[in-house]
Symmetry: C2
Subunit: 245 residues, 2 copies
Amino acid sequence: MSSAPERRLRADRARQAADVIRRQVVDRAYPDGVLPDEHFLAVEFATSRNTIREALDLLREEGLIERVPGVGTLVVTEKYPHGLEELMGLAETLHEHGEVTNDVRAAGPVKAPSSVARRLGLAEGEPVLYVERLRRLNGLPLSLDLTYLAPDVGAPLLTQDLRNRDIFALIEQTSGRRLGTASVALEAVNADLHSATVLEVPRGAALLVVERLSHFTDGRPVDLEFIRMRGDRLTMSAVCRRTHR
Amino acid sequence: MSSAPERRLRADRARQAADVIRRQVVDRAYPDGVLPDEHFLAVEFATSRNTIREALDLLREEGLIERVPGVGTLVVTEKYPHGLEELMGLAETLHEHGEVTNDVRAAGPVKAPSSVARRLGLAEGEPVLYVERLRRLNGLPLSLDLTYLAPDVGAPLLTQDLRNRDIFALIEQTSGRRLGTASVALEAVNADLHSATVLEVPRGAALLVVERLSHFTDGRPVDLEFIRMRGDRLTMSAVCRRTHR
C-alpha cells in the first residue's frame, strides 16, 4: 500500500532528504562547502529538524560531510567525477584535481588465461603483458588496476614511464595508433581484506569494480582492465539515450 | 618497485585469477554453471592450487559461487545485466530474467526542494510528484527508487498501474511524448542500516547508487530519480568512445 509522502517513517524521510543533499555535496554545489543550517534545510525539505539531523548523519557516515562546532556542517568529501562515456585515462580525467601517480606493483609477460586471450583476440596460452598498478591522486589511493595488453602493444610499454603516465596515452604514443571504443561493465562490490589493505579502506568498503576492454579505432581489442575504484573517491557519469523500437 | 607477475604475494595472484573468473561467472560463461576443477584452473592461470582456492574463496565471499561437495563449484549468483547506454525501465531491461514488481511505498505531491526544482526546470517550491518504490525481480528486492516527476507529467501516473509497470513506459503512454536522453551519475556506497533492511541485505552491503535525470526528446527534464541497486544483483554495462582533441 502506498501512502502520502509526509506520513512515512522518519528514516524514509531522512533518506529522501539525504539523497538530494548528497548530490549537492558530491557536485560541490554548496558555496564555500558549507551546508545550510538545520532550520533552513528543514524548511527546504518541508520536514522536521530531527529528520534533517538523521539525513546529515547518513552523509556523515559516508564520509561526505563533517560537523565542525561553531562553524557548521562542512563538505569534506574527496570524491571526484569520472566520465564514463569518454574513454580517458585517469590522469587525463583528473588533471584539474591533482597529480595522478602509479605504484607499479607488477609488470611483465604472463600466459593469457583462455578468457583473456579470447577477449583480446589472441590464441590460447599466448603471452600477454600484465601490468598491475595502484593509482593515487595527490598521494591517496584511488584505484587498483589489473591490465592485460596484447603482446605487440604491451611490450614497448615496459621501457616507458608507467609511474607517471596513463597506459592509454602510452599505447597511443608507442603504437602510433588511436584507441576508439571500449566496452565497460560496472559493479558495486564490498572490498575483500587484502584489496582493502592495498586501497587503504576498511574491509567491506564499497568499491566500484569496472571491467573495460578497449579497442583501436579499427576495432582490434588491445587492452583489458580489471579496476577496483574506491567508492568514497570516485563517481562515474554517463549519458543514456532511449531507443524506440 | 615493480616485480615479475609470478613473484608476488599469493593474495595478489589470487585476486588476479579471481577477477578473470568472476567475469566468467557474472557473464554465465561456464557451461551448466559448473566451474572447472581446481587443477584445471591452476594450469589455466599458471599458478598453484592454493592460489586458486584463495581466488574461489573471494568469489564465494561475494556470493557468486558455492561449493557443493561431490558436485564441484557452482555459479549461484542472481546478478543481472543492466545496459547503461540505453535508457530503459527495469521491467523492459530484465523481462527475459523474470517478473519485475514494485512495492509502491509512497506516491503523492511534495514541495520540490530547490535543487530538485532547478534540475526539473521548475520554479522553487512548486509541487512535484514523488513516487517511492521498492522494485523486485521474481519477488526479491533489486532496488529502491525515489522519483521526482514534473507535476503535469507525474499527476496522470497516480491512477496508473505503478505496481506492475515501469514509470518510463507510463510517462510515454500518458503524455503521448517520448523520452530521449538521460544524464546518469553512478557511485558505490555502503548500505546504511535502514536502507539495508528495506533491500534485505546486511548493513554495509555495497550498493550501486544512481542518480538519473531523464528528458523528453525536446530536451525538457521531467523525471529525476535516486536509485539504490543491490550490488549483488545488478551489473551495469556501457560503451565509451575516445575523443581525440
